[in-house]
Assembly symmetry: C2
Homo-oligomer: 154 residues x 2
């Protein structure tokens, strides 16, 4: 008897599905990024702008925003710095917690989002949503919801 447990390798179908997911995701993200580039932003920037636009007063605390996108705070600091330089976002120090910083969407940031959103959504449809049956796409939602849930914040 050994203490090591036999590795449960993926079976053929699982293997194929896993690789389809890896390759499909790589292609999809590259494509979405590409199409957003003509608005001068990438998908990461886009998602930041969206989160801000939906929030009360169009602003969020840095840590909160970082968590929602599962990014390191350091990365977000850099990205917000660039978006601030592009005048799409502005920083405001938080009065109630002196450590805190709000990232707030500017008018220009909001306008850019309004301009880019239709193209982006079309692209998400064309390259993902409309390619799947509603049931299959719902399954994708369930699976990655479970993934998020399982992995948690850290």
């Amino acid at each position: 008897m050994t203490t090591t447990t036999e590795t449960r390798w993926l079976n053929a179908e699982q293997q194929v599905a896993w690789r389809a997911y890896l390759l499909g995701t790589a292609r999809l993200m590259a494509k979405l990024d590409d199409e957003l580039r003509r608005f001068g932003i990438g998908i990461n920037d886009y998602e930041i702008l969206v989160r801000l636009s939906e929030s009360p007063d169009r602003r969020l605390r840095m840590a909160d925003l970082a968590d929602r996108l599962h990014q390191s705070r350091s990365r977000l600091t850099h990205t917000i710095g660039r978006l601030e330089a592009a005048e799409l976002v502005r920083r405001k120090s938080c009065t109630s917690d002196k450590r805190g910083v709000w990232a707030e969407l500017t008018e220009a940031g909001y306008n850019l989002l309004v301009e880019a959103a239709p193209t982006h959504v079309d692209s998400v449809r064309e390259n993902l949503v409309d390619l799947a049956s509603p049931e299959d796409f719902a399954a994708v939602g369930r699976v990655f919801d479970a993934v998020s849930e399982h992995i948690g914040q850290h």
Copy 2:
């Protein structure tokens, strides 16, 4: 009558599923990357080693490898350079096509893969495959297969 077509926004469920996918993927990749780090590589390196290990003579042409992973050739050149410095991969110039270069797995590269694979597969199971019903996971495969297919090489 206008020339612009009304944007077909995502409905509530689609929106939720799309965001679950984005967040879940971010968390999953970070997690897998993390767990591979103790073997000194990231998931990107890992996938390269796997592709090579499965190929005849454990080697692939640069462009071929880049296509399979949907990476730019430039990026692959840099990555292979690092893997070569780590002695996990070696370059061999291709005799039949003098422009060509083979990336070939070294013995050390193969050994590292053998060592890392069980942990990695466990992690893929624990954080993805085993969280989904077989049907749901199969749906993920179908969807991203369609995505890959639709977007194609470029």
